[in-house]
Every structure is written in C-alpha cells, then in structure tokens.
C-alpha cells in the first residue's frame, strides 16, 4: 500500500534520506517542503562558490529533473507553519494542506544572530544559504567586510570574500581562531596563513554594536571603542537547531528535537533527522553523523531494523592554502600524553593526545595527509604502544628518523643574519665552513661571526653542525628548558632575525617540543618579546611570575609588601603622612626602610592591594616596582646643596635618571645610585649603574654587584655633563635589555660579552648610542605607566576571592 510521506526541509539530511528511500524502491508518495526556493544542494560547498572556485550549479545535488524522475512532489519556497498530528496534516504558508502517514522534520538549524544594536541593519548577513552567499559575492574589489566569528564558517566566509579582492577583517572573541577545533599553536599557524592572504584578524575582540547610516551597515564598533568600517557584516557565531515548529506543535524538544536511536520523536509517526535533532544530549553541526542518521531513518521508514550511534567527527577547513585537521579531544590533562611535532620550515604542527596507549585527539596544521589515519585510530581505539616512537610521522614513516633539533637553523635562508654585531649571514658562515673553517674559533677568525658580543656562538655552532653533519661535535650548551634545545641566546637572536612577535610564533618557528611552554620558558619569552617588539607584542600577565603579576612582593606567609616610589630617594612630609595613614588603615604589621632608600610596608593582604594602592596613588605616589625585573631604585646622597664635600647635584641627577628609566622591564632587576663625591655615600660603586660625581664631571660605572656576588663597577666612561650621563645610562639600559639572557644581572651579562664590546657600542659609536636611546623611548611610551593605577581602576576584582563559602557555611 502506498504511504504518504511528508518531509519538512530539503537540506542535506533530507536529500540523503530521499536517496536511500528511492534507491530502496519502496512504495511512497512523497511531498517535500522547503522554505528555501530550491531543492537540495551541497551546502558545505557554498564556500568554494563564494570564493569563485565553483558555480552554484555545480553544487546542486538534486535538481528538478531528479525530483520529477523519482516522482517527488516539491513545494519549494513554501514554509510549513502548522501540524495537526491528530488529523496527520501539515499546513504550509501557501495555505495548502497535505496529509501524511509519516512525517519527517529535517529543518536544519538557524544561524545565531547576536541581538546587539544594529543587527537588523541592511547589509548584516549570516552564512547559511545561497542568499547569504550571493550577498557576499556582490561585494566588489576594494570594498570592506567584517566577519564576526573566527570559527569554521566565519573563516570560510572571510577567505571567500578575500579571494574576491574584498578587504576583510575577522573579529573573534576568543584568544585564538577556531578554538573549538584547534589548540593555540595550530591557531597561530592558521592566523598567519590568513594574514598572508591579506585578511586582518583581531582575536580577543568583543563586538559592541553595529553602526549604520540610512538603515545600512556602516561599521562595527568594538567594546574598546575601535570602529571597523564595512560595507557588509557577516555574523558567523554559531547555529541553533531549528525547533520552533516542532515545539509549537507539541514535540518534545531540548536544544534540538528529541529523537531516539530510530530517529523517532515523541509524537507517533513523526521523525526528525539532521541538525534539528538532539540525540542522547548531543546536537550536530557537521554532515558525517547526519548522513548516518539519514541512513538509519530510511531503514526505519522501510520497516527494517537500524539504530543510530553517534561517532567522533573530524574537521577540515575548506580554505585553499590552510590545511588543518582536528579530531577528538585534545584538552590538556595529566593522565594524557602529548606527542608534538613541528617543522618550522614548512609551517607544520602536529599534535597527538594519547591516553592509556590510545590516541584520543589529533590536531594538525600544514600537513594533514595523515589525518584520516589518526582519525581512524581514534575511532577504533587502536593500541599504539608498539609504534609510539614513530607514530607522529604517520603510516608511511614507521621506523623513520627522530625529530631534528637543528631544523630551525637548517631552515634559515642564506641571507639570514646570524651575527648582528658584524653583519655576518648564514651564507657567509657556510662558505667559510666549506673553505675549511670547521670550528667556532676558525669561523670567528675568518668571518668575525661571534667575535664581538658572542651571543650568537650557539647559532654559529648549529650552522657548523648542520653544514658538517656528523663531522662536527657540538659543545654542550644549556638549553633554555625542557621545551627546546636552543639556548636563551639562540632564542633571543632568532626572535629578532625571524621577527617572531608572539609566543605561539616563537614556539612554532623554533620547534618547541611542548604545545605551550612551561614556567621556565614562558616568563623569559614574555620578556624577550616585549623588549624586542614593544609596539607589536601584548604583555601576557599569565606568563609572569607572581610578583610582577600582582605588582607586589609576595612574602613567605603569602602576604605582600608594598613600596611606593620615591624618586632619587627623596620624599615629603605629605607623602610620609599618606604612607603612615595607609599603614594604619590596612593594619600593616611591619614598616621598614629599605637599602634603596624606600619605605616598605610589609604584611599587606592580597585582597587589600588595590585599595592601598589607590590611597597611595591619591597622595601622588606610584608603584616603586620593588618586585620587578626592571628599574628598582636610584639611590642618592644629598649632594652639593647640603654637603660640604659635594661636587654636583647628585639628588637632582638621581631624580632625573629615575624619572627617565622607571617602568622599564629588564632581564633582571636594575639598581642605580648617584654619589655626590668619591666618598660615595650612595654606594654607587656596587650598583648595576653607578655614577660618582667629581669636580670635573661624572664617572659612570656599570656591572657592579652587592648580592651573592660582590663586585665593584667597571668604568664605562667619564663625562662632563648630566646630559651625557643620561644618554649613556639610557643606552646601557637598552643594550642590556636587548641582549642579555633573562635573569642575568648586568654584571653577569657584561662578563659574557666583555665591557669593551659594550663601550664600542655605546661610548664610541654615537649613532648606535642614539639608536638605542630612541628604541628605549619607544618602549617607555608603552611601558612607563603606573601599574597600581591601572590595576586598582579596572582589575581590582581579580585580587578578591571569587566566592566566600565561610559565610555560606555559617548561614
């Protein structure tokens, strides 16, 4: 007996159900409704249509001829508005009534539109159907588009429009692109590829409102006030199962239409399939499981047995040149083990997550050829213990070679500068090696590489190793940490020469062995990046040690010490009163005068920090950075104004120095002093930079120490004017900032490079001195700011407990 089957929605799931039913040759009288004015097309291929790689006709899977041939009655452009499940009738918005024996919901999903101001303006589109695609295709070269959402759809939309010459900006709320499918390192590579295509990518960016003019979109405004002008705005922030019709007509729904393993809904003779369903708590967004559902539903309708079992899905992005693959679960966990492979030269990143000898997740970028092999093992739960060591190299490579720690250097082009001091490129060194210079000494002698400051000697050795292979025995250098084989010096140089400006960039391009570093490398990298790229890199507080994150010194009992800055060790009665008031108000148990001429309030509770800072700020004081790897104090004596031995205005100079240098971050702490005469009351001769005033001017010493090591400063220069002192001190700060290893005090660093080299750079070479000063000033524009004011104003809540269960327990 012929049965009447009505299907609501002619999307990809419905199309597949029809394929199976018509193949099986059952006796059906089928009516197919679709709100879109067309039948089934391959929705996932809209992206190649948008980018111009395909035409729409090429992606239609079921055309009019097909429906006619199979005897399917079509009602395209007709939306079903009501269902009478007692009478088994559906009503369409064309006024028609159609009776059914079996009814299938295949209504798919609706794009989610953030209800922000301006979302209903003309020119705001989603990315779901042909109409959306055509709106984007209508843009012409040079017009501007903004895409909200850096997920799969948003990026395909962005790349498609960019391929048409549109100027596209992607605005993404999260810290990296496609965060649901990719980890941070893979997200970094993806971003880089998109930026190379001319797309602007803004992560961690929150949209506030869409601005319009005459009812048409004009710009997107972010919550930091930035305006991004645009002719079209595409919102691709997610989808919601389309359940309204089902819900209004009494079907059980949650996030989707509830179905059992046979795709049956809660109402007799009504089924659902595709993205509109919710099965065992899962909802869907990719076609693979939907096609499984379609197969099951077709069987069930035919009276055969079948059950739907959800499966792992894998994701690929259909953007030419962005090869990525993601499957399974790749969250960190310590019952899990990572295998990471990076090939910086080819821009490849692969990470497998293993748990109990099975692969449970895979993320790959740049080379995804083995994706399906890994995916298969995830699905099958294959035990990989036998091939663990070579697993990451894929099926073709079983038994292959281990990762090469030298690959970063091997990948450098010949014109990459290795020795900055003497301008020696990799190619020069290779030439010298081939001409017979086979160790570091010989390279120094023939090319001058590493003959000056010496920080590049590690790199030169790696070039030797790469060029000579087994003939070269690498001297053992201490790597930065377990995440890399490179030394601090190597990393610093490569950050500069390869222009690496973010932490994921460093880790990828230098082949980090972990996915996101550890507590040893992250603070060092954070420093190197902010010192080398002050204008590009954004400081990451979560990669800083506690004292710098909390802008206070943690004490062994977990309380903090607070030290306001007193420029040049000078203070006033008003400041002292404010400090005393603060000490009283916050029950500060200990008040101490430090060796650097500051007042230290010890024993402040973490949650009181913003409030005590605010009070001290209000009295005109800023943070003394007593906790920072940065400029600490400039200690002075009272100088010629008061002291009969004084030769110059030592306090005035101390204040000037501190005003110029405070706020700068350095590899380790830096302390200065200015003494008014050689009696040296300010103890300038054991400081990182110490100035001793004499009748004829100023003696500038550097690289002193008075800690675990005690060392007298070495004379950098004798100068006649305050201005020269300022210039040399600033240039010294900057050259130290740019070259030293993280956590090396100046005396340690100078011992490595030699004072002569430092003198050559900043005393003899005026041009270089001025360039250093200029770069220091650029950095100060960004970093010379009072952290107290900032933290107290907008981050104060971070210092408080998130919740108090003590009170609740008492209730």
């Amino acid at each position: 007996m012929t049965q009447k089957l009505v299907i609501i929605g002619a999307g990809m799931a419905a199309g597949r159900v029809l394929d199976h039913l018509t193949d099986a040759g059952g006796d059906w009288d089928i009516t197919l409704f679709n709100a879109e004015p067309r039948g089934t097309y391959n929705r996932i291929m809209l992206s190649p249509v948008l980018s111009g790689e395909k035409t729409f006709d090429e992606i239609v899977t079921h055309d009019d001829a097909w429906y006619a041939d199979k005897g399917v009655a079509t009602k395209f452009g007709v939306k079903v508005t009501e269902i009478d499940s007692a009478a088994q009738i559906v009503r369409g918005d064309d006024g028609s009534e159609t009776a059914y024996d079996k009814l299938v919901f295949a209504t798919g999903s609706n794009p989610f539109i953030i209800p922000m101001p301006g979302h209903d303006l003309d020119g705001v589109v989603a990315y779901r159907d042909l109409e959306d695609t055509e709106a984007m295709m209508a843009l012409t070269e040079g017009q501007k588009a903004v895409v909200i959402g850096g997920g799969l759809l948003g990026l395909e939309a962005a790349a498609g429009m960019a391929a048409r010459g549109v100027d596209v900006t992607v605005v993404h709320l999260m810290g990296h692109l496609m965060e649901r499918q990719l980890d941070e390192p893979a997200g970094y590579l993806l971003r880089k590829a998109l930026v190379d295509k001319g797309i602007t990518v803004k992560c961690s960016a929150n949209s506030k409102q869409i601005l319009g003019e005459n009812g048409k979109v004009k710009a997107l405004q972010l919550d930091d006030g930035t305006e991004l002008p645009c002719d079209l705005l595409c919102m691709a922030v997610g989808i919601r199962p389309s359940i309204a019709l089902a819900q209004e007509n009494g079907l059980a729904v949650g996030r989707g239409i509830h179905v059992d393993d046979q795709m049956r809904t809660s109402v007799e003779n009504i089924y659902a399939v595709g993205e509109c369903v919710e099965h065992n708590g899962d909802i869907f967004g990719l076609v693979a499981p939907l096609f499984d559902q379609a197969k099951v539903l077709a069987k069930v309708l035919q009276g055969e047995e079948a059950e739907f079992v959800n499966r792992e899905v894998s994701t690929k992005l259909k953007v030419t040149g962005c090869d990525l693959f993601s499957a399974g679960d790749f969250a960190d966990g310590d019952d899990r083990e990572d295998i990471v492979f990076r090939d910086p030269a080819r821009g490849v990143y692969k990470r497998l997550v293993l748990k109990e000898d099975k692969i449970i997740g895979a993320v790959m970028y740049g080379d995804t050829a083995d994706g399906n092999w890994f995916y298969g093992m995830i699905k099958d739960g294959t035990d990989v213990s036998e091939m663990r060591d070579t697993l990451i190299f894929g099926p073709a490579y079983q038994g292959g070679t281990a990762e090469d720690p030298l690959s970063a250097v091997a990948a450098l082009p010949d014109d990459a500068e290795i020795c900055g001091c003497n301008g020696v490129c990799k190619g020069d060194i290779v030439k010298a090696i081939n001409a017979g210079a086979t160790d570091l000494g010989a390279i120094k002698a023939t090319t001058k590489a590493s003959a000056s400051c010496g920080t590049c000697s590690g790199l030169v050795e790696q070039v030797l190793a790469v060029t000579l292979g087994d003939d070269f025995v690498m001297p053992t250098a201490e790597p930065m940490c377990g995440c890399t084989d490179l030394t601090h010096e190597d990393v610093r140089l490569l950050i500069k020469s390869k222009e690496l400006k973010s932490m994921p960039a460093v880790m990828q391009e230098l082949g980090w062995k972990t996915s996101c570093g550890c507590h040893v490398c992250r603070p060092a990298l954070n420093y190197y990046l902010l010192a080398d790229w002050p204008e590009d890199y954004i400081d990451d507080p979560q990669s800083r040690f506690i004292n710098e994150r909390k802008h206070a010194n943690i004490q062994k009992d977990g309380t903090y010490s607070v030290v306001p800055r007193m420029f040049g060790g000078m203070t006033t009665p008003d400041e002292l009163r404010a400090i005393a008031d603060a000490a009283d108000k916050y029950n500060v148990p200990t008040v101490h005068v430090t060796g650097g001429q500051r007042i230290d309030l010890l024993g402040v509770k973490g949650e009181d920090l913003p409030a005590i800072w605010k009070d001290l700020n209000d009295a005109g004081m800023v943070s003394g950075h007593a906790y920072a790897k940065g400029l600490r104090t400039v200690k002075t004596c009272v100088g010629k104004d008061h002291c009969r031995f004084g030769t110059q205005d030592s306090t005035g100079l101390g204040i000037k120095l501190e005003k110029a240098l405070w706020g700068s971050w350095t590899p380790h702490k830096v302390k200065l002093a200015v003494s008014g005469c050689p009696r040296n009351c300010a103890e300038a001769t054991c400081k990182d930079i110490g100035v001793v005033c004499v009748d004829s001017g100023y003696q500038i010493g550097v690289a002193g120490a008075a800690g675990m090591d005690v060392k007298e400063t070495e004379r950098l220069a004798d100068v006649a004017t305050e201005q020269e002192v300022m210039d040399l001190a600033t240039a010294f700060m900057q050259i130290y900032r740019e070259n030293a290893k993280y956590l090396d005090r100046p005396y340690k660093w100078v011992a490595k490079v030699g004072l002569d080299w430092v003198k050559e750079q900043i005393v003899d070479n005026v041009e270089e001195r001025n360039a250093l000063i200029e770069r220091f000033k650029i950095s100060q524009k960004i970093y010379q700011k009072d952290p107290w004011a900032e933290e107290a104003a907008d981050k104060a809540d971070q210092y408080e407990p998130i919740a108090n269960l003590v009170l609740e327990a008492a209730e």
Binding site: A331, S515, C516, C518, I554, K556, A803
Partner: protein
Amino acid sequence: MSTWTDIGPLDAVRRRGARIIKAPGQDLAVFRTIDDQVFALVNACPYRQGPLSEGIVHGTLVTDPLYNWVISLETGEAQGADEGRVDTFPVKVEGGRILLDTSSIYQRQAA
C-alpha cells in the same frame, strides 16, 4: 551526595589564572586552563604552603610561586622528584558558571 554550589562566572577567572575561594578551614583556589578546563584545589603547596593560586599555570599543571614545586591540577600530586599532594575538589562549568561540589568541604568543617 554532591552539592553543586555556584561560585561565579567562568569569565571571572583569567585563562591560565586562578581565583581564591574562601572556605571554612582553608582557602581553595579555582584554576582555569588555556582550554577552559577548571580545577579546584586547596590553595597551599604541600611544601611551605605557598599560595598555588599565584603560580604559573601551564597545561594542567601549576608551579608553586614560592619554591617552584609543580603540582597537578587534576590530582593534586606533586610532579617530578618532589613528593606531596594537595586536596582537590570536584568542580565543573555549566552555562558559563563555575560550580563547585561543596559537600566534602562542609563535611570537613563538621568533622
């Protein structure tokens, strides 16, 4: 039986950061990893009670800010050569809110 207590929005904790929960007897810390997993531990390193909430979070580990012990956020176990363990508490995120199972905390208090 679990008692899930809402302790605040996920966004109140920075990625790779932590916040303190005042609790009877001993402060706890709730951590958030880069991939938005959350963990709750007693806020004290087994060695000299350093406040773990102030440590650097890497993967699902946190490094004690005072003495660089590395503690697993999942099990509370000290890693590497160090030996010791801090108590962990069930915690989860639902609808953007952090929920902490407080049953064992109050039990401890009652005991």
